[in-house]
């Protein structure tokens, strides 16, 4: 069982940013029809989402969040020993986006930087990886970036996904301490049998130059091989059966119950799924923040988006115990617990800055002198 327990790691703060551009689910009624959109909104809870500009990336949003979080915490860039970018939305096919963020933030060469290729479970797995790095090294601080721009790969006529995704970049500052009560725990599972359930089949090295011709798929939605596919029924059965089991197993392993947590910052998959998970695990739904209505499904960033939405800008500082849960593409799923001071949860920021130096639009741009 992939259960991890750290007794010297704390979450020092979280922040997130979303694009300014807002898309309302209602705006899809001329494409999909009133009934379809109304049913979608009732089922998923998504009414509004924020979407990036053409060349704006998840790392642009994470960069803004990280700058604000480091300033808030008074932590200097040179104090960061590890930087992980845990996402399915890298700036480039290569190199890792972590290096771009390292350069932009002025994090020293002595730091370890790399990407973790995950979507909705990226926070939980990223936290486990970062905690492992910090607890076994001489580093004190690590920056974990999560989030996606999932909407960019969705065919606009795909009614199963076009309205679902919002876009966000989030960051978590983790710190190694000498206090054994600073606990981070994580339970992680993976199920490769579901690798086709959520997939972009083309553009990887299996089919690098896949056709972008759009076909009507058997589920009634138009897609090309370069688009995102979600087999909704398959995903749903995994979330309502396997996620509650994971959560209950996490409580058994940690000797905790739902009453031990102040907040259940769960991946905002969709409202119906979250209600089903709460019902099957007996988690009080009022302790599960919902941001689907205003931000959509923001993939791996969604748990932090929810924390920032509820506690960001809070004038009263208090320590809360959080259980986070991420589940999705892979199939990958995980649960984690940690404590955080609400004063270190920043409000959600809106940002449309694009990293100009990172936008390369023609080959010889790389050979031009600065």
């Amino acid at each position: 069982m992939a259960f991890f327990e750290f007794n010297n790691i704390r979450v020092a703060g979280v922040a997130c940013a979303v694009p300014k551009n807002v898309v309302e689910s209602e705006s899809y009624k001329p494409i999909f029809g009133d009934e379809e959109v109304d049913k979608f909104m009732a089922m998923t809870g998504v009414k509004v989402s924020h979407r990036t500009l053409e060349h704006q990336t998840c790392s642009d949003l994470g960069y803004r969040a990280a700058k604000e979080l480091l300033a808030h915490k008074g932590v200097k860039s040179e104090d960061i020993g590890a930087l992980l970018f845990s996402s399915h939305s890298p700036d480039y096919r290569r190199p890792s986006t972590a290096f771009v963020l390292q350069y932009r933030l002025g994090i020293p060469e002595e730091a370890v930087c790399y990407d973790i290729s995950l979507g909705c479970s990226s926070l939980v797995v990223g936290m486990q990886t970062m905690a492992s790095i910090l607890s076994t090294s001489d580093m004190k601080y690590g920056l974990l970036f999560v989030g996606d721009t999932a909407g960019k790969s969705v065919n606009p006529n795909d009614r199963s996904s076009a309205m679902l995704f919002g876009e966000a970049g989030a960051v978590m500052l983790m710190e190694k301490t000498q206090d054994s009560t600073d606990e981070v725990k994580a339970l992680i599972r993976s199920d490769g049998t579901g690798f086709k359930y959520m997939i972009i089949p083309g553009g990887g090295y299996r089919n690098l130059h896949a056709s972008e011709d759009v076909e009507m798929c058997a589920d009634g939605n138009e897609r090309s091989l370069m688009n995102s596919f979600i087999q909704g029924a398959s995903v749903f059965t995994f979330t309502i059966f396997d996620v509650p089991r994971l959560i209950k197993d996490f409580w058994t392993k940690t000797g905790t119950t739902p009453q031990d947590y102040d907040c259940f910052a769960f991946h905002q998959a969709n409202l119906y799924i979250l209600k089903q998970i709460a019902k099957k695990t007996k988690i009080p739904f009022e302790k599960m923040p919902i941001t689907l209505d205003r931000y959509g499904n923001t993939s791996g960033a969604s748990a932090i988006v929810s924390l920032c939405d509820v506690y960001g800008g809070s004038t009263e500082a208090s320590t809360i115990k959080v259980m986070a849960c991420g589940f999705g593409i892979g199939i990958s799923l995980g649960a984690t617990s940690f404590e955080i001071n609400t004063a270190d949860i920043l409000p959600i920021m809106e940002d449309d800055e694009i990293y100009a130096e990172g936008l390369i639009t023609y080959p010889n741009q790389l050979y031009e002198k600065k």
Binding site: M43, G232, A233, S234, F236, T237, I240, F241, Y272
Partner: protein, 73 residues
């Protein structure tokens, strides 16, 4: 089977589940309805209907759904 009928009617009160035999083939139930039914069946009967059982034939009528539940019990 009465319990199953009660569940189905709770999800889609507008559908005649007693007599309808082409719930999927005729597009009477959509994917949202099916996932709701799967979840309710898990709660009520402790039966987990997985992806390999998501054959439309298993959801075309109340009898078909009931047979699937009996098979998986």
């Amino acid at each position: 089977m009465d319990k199953l009928l009660e569940i189905l009617q709770g999800i889609r009160p507008d559908v005649d589940f007693v007599n309808e035999t082409e719930l999927i083939d005729e597009g009477i139930l959509d994917s949202f309805d099916v996932v709701s039914i799967i979840s309710e069946i898990d709660d009520a009967f402790g039966v987990q209907i997985r992806i390999n059982e998501l054959d439309p034939e298993n959801f075309n009528s109340v009898e078909a759904i009931w047979s699937l539940i009996q098979k998986l019990k």
